[in-house]
Point group: D2
Chain length 396, copies 4
């Protein structure tokens, strides 16, 4: 028994061990009886509705989910969630401070990180401290963009082509319409993909201090409504998003262009600092970097890095960003809107001095510095053999 087939067979055997294949198939069938009773959907957050939901679940409100603090803050969650039953508490650690010398960020920032993974905060902490000891990192937002990609189907490629010509001519009108829906966002460009009789328009926006996903949806809808009404050629299908924008996904388009903010960061380290903070030599880091860069390439990652997702997820959760954006290649942060106004999240942004408008550029630059520190820390850990020791010790 050779090859991957043998492992598939082992997996099957472990299943069939318990029972025969027909019973398994039976188990997998749709079951209409008894009918399922859905929870009644609740978009408004208040004590009454939450209690109704717990009743529907069939159990008393769990005190670790609906704790006193949460019970005292119902109205703060309204507009951020539906079918609210309480809160999930994520341990919050503080790393740093991280000194950032940026276009927007200037100074020493505490780094709030929400995670349940042992060793994560410790790893980012030592990275951040090392950077700060070196005078801080230079960090620079080099581009900002967010896109929505409405899609259109026509009777033929010829009509689709006419549509593209009209859409290009109408771009200033599109801009006026889009910009009229938001005081912070601006429609700045459009990419065009003609695929047979289908057209995808890739609208590119700036979004001010918001992360902006809802903003660009609403702005794009306004343009689509106009197109629906005024387009000189008949449209068969129109969708506000044709799944080409890369929203919530690792797309190579977003990697080679930008979704959110593209930030680059740099620090100059001396051998002494390396030795002091991560017990490594420059040569060890360089050797491991080359090995790991090729490892990343060989496994086919988008970009080459060690563990961006760890720092991103922890900072996103702590500061009220959309955690699903951890899947995207860009840095997607805002300091207004979304979850940034929730109590503990807002408190973290305040700790950093980055709550409210005019702060999203700085937050993105701090985020890049955080990731730089995390990379330096994991590279050193793997280069020197500390990696397993740290996980062994901290994940008790």
């Amino acid at each position: 028994m050779v090859g991957k087939r043998s492992l598939t067979s082992l997996h099957l055997e472990s299943l069939l061990d318990k029972t025969d294949i027909d019973s398994i198939a039976k188990q997998l069938e749709p079951k209409h009886e008894p009918p399922v009773k859905p929870y009644f959907p609740n978009s408004k957050v208040n004590a009454h509705r939450t209690n109704k939901l717990w009743k529907a679940i069939g159990t008393a409100p769990h005190p670790d989910i609906l704790d006193p603090w949460t019970g005292a803050h119902f109205e703060h969650f309204d507009g951020n969630i539906e079918n609210f039953i309480g809160t999930t508490k994520i341990p919050l650690g503080i790393a740093g401070p991280l000194r950032v010398n940026g276009l927007f960020a200037q100074g020493d920032y505490p780094l709030p990180l929400a995670t349940s993974e042992a060793a994560l905060v410790a790893s980012y902490h030592r990275g951040a401290c090392m950077i700060s000891a070196a005078g801080g990192c230079t960090s620079m937002v080099v581009y900002q963009a967010l896109n929505r990609a409405p899609a259109f189907a026509f009777d033929s490629m010829r009509t689709a082509g006419k549509f593209v010509a009209w859409a290009m001519e109408s771009f200033e009108t599109f801009q006026q319409l889009a910009n009229s829906t938001t005081s912070h966002g601006k429609l700045v460009d459009v990419g065009t993909t003609l695929e047979g009789n289908h057209v995808y328009l890739n609208f590119e926006f700036t979004t001010g201090d918001a992360s902006g996903q809802n903003m660009v949806t609403i702005a794009t809808q306004a343009v689509c409504d106009f197109i629906q009404k005024e387009c000189p050629v008949p449209i068969r299908q129109l969708y506000v998003e044709g799944n080409l924008s890369g929203d919530k996904k690792a797309s190579s388009q977003a990697y080679t262009t930008t979704r959110g903010r593209k930030v680059t960061a740099e620090v100059v380290l001396t051998p002494e600092i390396l030795e002091k903070y991560v017990r490594a030599t420059p040569r060890q880091l360089i050797d491991y970097w080359r090995m790991s860069a090729i490892g990343g390439v060989l496994s086919g990652t988008m970009g080459v890095h060690g563990h961006f997702a760890n720092g991103l997820a922890a900072l996103y959760i702590a500061t009220g960003q959309d955690a699903a954006c951890v899947a995207e290649p860009g840095i997607m942060v805002g300091t207004v809107g979304g979850g940034t106004g929730l109590p503990s999240q807002k408190a973290c942004l305040q700790l950093m001095g980055l709550q409210g408008s005019s702060n999203s550029g700085a937050l993105a630059e701090v985020c890049a510095g955080l990731l730089l520190g995390g990379e330096l820390s994991i590279i050193a850990a793997l280069a020197t053999g500390d990696f397993t020791r740290a996980h062994h010790k901290l994940a008790r």
Copy 2:
């Protein structure tokens, strides 16, 4: 002024608007004065150390971060975090129940979703209810694996080749050593990449009911320690991970093989159910699916889907999984270890009836059903034009 260059120039102008380029360069320089004082690292969680950290931050403990419930549960967070200062509260909504007919999951599951994104729970809720109305989804774990990829450098490719031959012969020993470090994990296979004088061994494990990242690190370290000691050829460099495993990253290797659990799910919907739950016709869904599948391909995503990351992030956070794994292509869930023992997270697993050992297969199958529901819901929303309306209404 044409092309992308014009947008880059606008970005630059907006920066230079405020100041001149030399002042900006000055701003970006390392700054050694005054020196930064790092927080003293704390791996133990208790009131005393938390208070010291707040003092170091320079402010009183924030009541939305260090609330009474959190203050009463210090010991619960020990081993999951360092530099603990409190908790982040994520709103928790409940969707479903979702009926799942799986190899492991059998029955109707409430779906706890932690998110700050309006409309997310509502969208997954209607998807789940629709699936349940159809008798539930069939959901099936088809493979399980987790890998660690230690890397080795030699003086030449010839020596590297000898090492590979020895490693293949020694595999049973590697298995014994690896398996001796864990009662739940098993080393089941090894892939080999010979790249000049570098070798990556891609160890594949099963991890029982744990998500398993630490488990496979420790097991691999045991093998590496043995290799370090017993290898008959001289090793220049040895790393427990050469960045080839795909850990915390979207890698195409993980997409075409498996990290975590590979699950496939299916539901058969009637036109009546579609009309009732999402006000769409089968034709509308099919048309949009084709448009959006090509959209995904054109933007270069790994796999084609709408918004897996939304459901994954929300379920991962609610049930104590590693949120950074949202970046990976596989379903990475456990029901023991990591954050699954934290109070509110454990409570969510209990709500689902999936807390503790022997439940991770079922959790993965429920997760796949959740994502299926989310895809059906967003496809319907985009196909019928509900998408913007829902976001407009729910994100107030």
Copy 3:
């Protein structure tokens, strides 16, 4: 013995079967004795130098390589090859004619295809005939671009940033310099990637009727020479290409933007035509398309298609294009320059009525129609089971 490891072991055993591992290692060692005598490099093509090369090879000129026709055409190959010893003869088949209704292509085109793969011409032929029977395909060049990406290293990110600001300001000068080196190419845009202290400028050109790789290199060199001389900040390293352009490679950047020409093509087929030309029903094609589209996605191809490379390689070789560009995602064709002036290649372009200037747009549109026919043909063959039969019959 389980998993991939077992296949690696089998591979190793088959090697060790013949000999032991130390002998193999010996075999793999560098061998300095006797020294190798390189052929003397010859960039000029003529009989004398070719004969010298055959003498150096140590054998008489092979009559199937240096045949009479080749021997009579030495001067025709000068400037397209070095170390010339004769020609490789690739069988040439003719498919079509293909009717193309394009922006540039208008009419019925014979399709010369050079290949040694049985069934390839037959497959493209039936596809082309089917398209022609349907009134031809609509085919449309939607964009044209070719890029070169010079790269620069600086002492710090700050200096790199200053360089970018200067480069953006200097773009009109860059355009003048670049455009002065060519009467056909134009520098139209520049993308900027700032990566720490490294900068990649991605120059985008139009290239007229040439494929243009040399043209953009020379134009970019002129800009680089200017940068070298005039740049106000010190440059550590300067390269005319930093491997970011995607030249001769499948890069996702080129897939989501354009290298060469982006062309889209469409044909409307009736059930009768399908039945007559490929014995398939629309349902069969649609079913297979869905299965194969997902197959492509699951295996992680850039874009989803069946066998573009077959048609591209055969047409590129027949018409004197750069065959290495089969590796790129775009259509890279020219009707002047490169191999398009070689005798048999020029003859093929003449057959098509597309030799010489003003024809490259039409050639690209014909190429897209060819690929469309090839896709229809292979989809039908796989959907109906003809695929193996055809290969069995034609590859005798």
Copy 4:
């Protein structure tokens, strides 16, 4: 006018310059009159049929396509092409000799390269000579595999699951059937992808000395015929290839596993050799390598390299390989079958001493050495500024 939209508009204007949009749309319409007369398909190669084809094209046989040598070798092309009208002559240059110290390749190999791109042979030549001067390269086939991926649709996922269980049990039978169709190929493994009610079986073969695409198709068809007849569950659709194999495509699956041969090569160069052959220092090569490796990563290529496709295309064409395989990530070479028996191609294999059976491993190792030489040469050219100069001088 900003952004990419401005370039799209310029493109549109250049089209509309000549005419109005309705005339263009007219031009793009299907045109049924006059009907196109297809060439009568000819799978047999002989003078009579070739003449008929030239008549159908409507012109006398072109002497550069149907030259005397070609006219004297009709029967040699039979079975490699359909609709034969002559041959395309590709200039053939000779590089090297290249010393290869491999598992299979041992000795000094002339490198025949068929190309129309100036500077290509010169570049590979200097790379090969440099390697030879260093005692040759170590080159090692580390894996060999070719796959075909038949696909199956069922009424439900449950039935699909039963099919997978049956297929795993029946694997030995599949092997017998597959192996009975070929004396050289062997079915060695199978991967399984269950996607809802669809199943892809990824059959992995070894193919002996043939490149093997037809061999694996025929073997897989035999298995499919058996499945069609004997499968205990009803099959809705069955295809011999579900587009998951990666055939003729750059797929990430093929990059992280193997299609064809996976070969790794190494050479140790002294500063003296570098200086003598490419006028570069080690530091220059290392600096450029890092810059270009990151450039490759940033543009999203599969793997990181400079111009593999150049060497592959030239060697493939010269030695009768399938030129379309330049699009694949692996080395796809054979020394029997396909185009390897054509006169000039066979002559090249004979020159190398690698014609006929038992030579494909050696050919793959020489190929890897060729690519290594090409990478060293282009890296040096770009690192020292020779790149443009060489192209300027040689592409006259």
